[in-house]
Subunit: 324 residues, 2 copies
């Protein structure tokens, strides 16, 4: 049994708790939180502890899954805990990945630990598909589309507007752009041509819908480069129809292997729950990290650095007999 | 530069010749054939030699790509040449892969060589996607659809019927089945419900179309379990409209991460040329095998055993900066 622990009991932490149940070779050993453990209601029998106690768990945990955010939690937490445990995180600030990798690599390697960073679906499974497709077809073009899905960042941005009580924002890929890409036309697409945005907004009493809508659609970086539709709905409608966290997207590469001989490689995800899918990927990589560490393979890894067979509970013989 | 050699100058051999041109870190060093080298017209400047001379090329070739067939060539060739060279093959008889793996592993390991077997798209990229999706979602169902594409085996079977001058057979996935799978309905599908077959047939003079059609649609294993449409056309039409070797397909896994929380992972290929795409995959794995061998990692490998970063000519730093 692989003993898994969680640090952080938000959406990702709750997802790990569920994902462990789907993997019979794993056991949830502990949940660590920065909050008062008594305030947490968890779904498993695993003990809930304050993070201040984590050091004493060295040797009792095979892999610690870091479920904090990329903005401030993980840059500090992952290198720190990679000194004590094998760790997996979902660090997703693409531009800062090289620095994060270096910090985690040094911390884990010096302490004979193994770490996987930036695991999930983007970065993660989408990155893998970009890499494989680029290696197979060096002569081609890449396209990534996201959605239909909830963007937490954009939903938060709408919620910060004066007069808004609550809001949910969906990122939606534009079907005609997807079709042009799939047809191998290698189109040059602007931001506006690739995705549109749809907002469901609950107003505070007395707020002016025209004014709120104007503030949304003109918001720099978040909305001004997109065609955005704003729907005003009641709090009840929002809670009933928009409480899920679906997401997904498409990674497409079109290329040529000789003049006019074209190929299209497409990978897509359609996810009912972004955090539950992300944590299912994290757990598979936790298995890989556990094994790599047993083999004496230390330091930081990304999805690029790990052979696929390490993710599976099956033996090599089973894999080549049943899945190849 | 990685020195590549080809054994066998059929569709795959010709594909390797083109694929090498797309990879600036590679050079085609030699083409080996069982035929009289003088009878071959190749497209590159690489020397063409009879296979009897191959032993003297040890040390001059980094990776030998075996471009023979799975039925009789590769079971004999791959273990034989894995003693002398790093090799890559596209062995695709799924049921015999474990035996082939064992034979190649013993031969290569004993001689400090590295080999990749069963590389291509199925087995190959499709296998990888089955594996990743299964590891992420242990609770789910797998579906593989092939096509639209030319099946050489089925085309050959039609050609063997008396009265048939030439023929081309297309395997076509049934759209409604694909849609049911994508909708997460986990349908139980019979052979007939997943694919249909379409044949374009040129008759010999005097042949009876009714009789030929009947023989095709009732042919055991090849056609009797499918809905098959037969079109009779002229030799000119066949050559003009059906001379390509397109193929492709879909690997889909639908699963749940908690009750009623569903996800769909889909990978698809749309290929103008089956052999050119297959050889593009072979060449990427040739790069990986070359590197693994340099690191002292010997023996047989499958796509499951090779970390994705080995396929790329980019450095690790470049990969995590640009593709993760």
């Amino acid at each position: 049994m692989i003993n898994i622990a969680i640090l952080g009991y938000g959406n990702l932490g709750k997802g790990i708790e569920k994902a462990v149940l789907k993997n019979p070779d794993m056991k949830l050993a502990a949940i660590f939180t920065r909050r008062d453990p008594k305030t947490l209601t968890t779904k498993s029998a695993a003990p809930v502890l304050n993070v201040s106690e984590i050091e004493s768990w060295q040797g009792k945990i095979d892999v610690l899954i870091l479920c904090g955010g990329s903005a401030t939690d993980l840059p500090e937490q992952t290198p720190k805990y990679a000194k004590m445990f094998n760790v997996v995180d979902s660090f997703d600030t693409h531009a800062k990945i090289p620095t994060h990798f270096k910090n985690v690599d040094e911390a884990s390697r010096a302490n004979k630990k193994t770490a996987a960073i930036s695991v999930g679906w983007d970065p993660g499974m989408f990155s893998l598909n970009r890499l494989y497709a680029n290696c197979i077809m060096p002569d081609g073009c890449d396209y990534t589309f996201w959605g239909k899905g909830v963007s937490q960042g954009h939903s938060d941005a709408v919620r910060r507007i004066e007069g808004v009580l609550d809001a949910r924002q969906y990122t939606i890929p534009i079907e005609s752009a997807l079709e042009a890409v799939r047809a191998g036309k290698n189109p040059k697409l602007t931001t506006r041509e690739k995705h549109k945005r749809e907002c469901f907004v609950v107003l505070k009493e007395g707020a002016d819908p025209k004014k709120v809508e104007q503030q949304i659609v003109t918001m720099p970086n978040y909305f001004d480069e997109y065609d955005t539709t704003v729907h005003f709905i009641t709090k009840e409608e929002l809670d009933k129809n928009h409480s899920g966290i679906p997401h997904g997207g498409f990674v497409i590469r079109c290329g040529e292997t000789s003049p006019n001989v074209k190929h299209v490689i497409e990978y897509s995800l359609k996810l009912d729950s972004n955090p539950e899918f992300t944590t299912s990927v994290l757990i598979a990589y936790a298995r890989a990290i556990y094994r790599l560490n047993k083999e004496g393979n230390y330091g930081a890894k990304t999805v690029f650095d790990i052979a696929p067979s390490y993710l599976s509970p099956k033996t090599h013989q089973e894999l080549i007999s049943t899945m190849l």
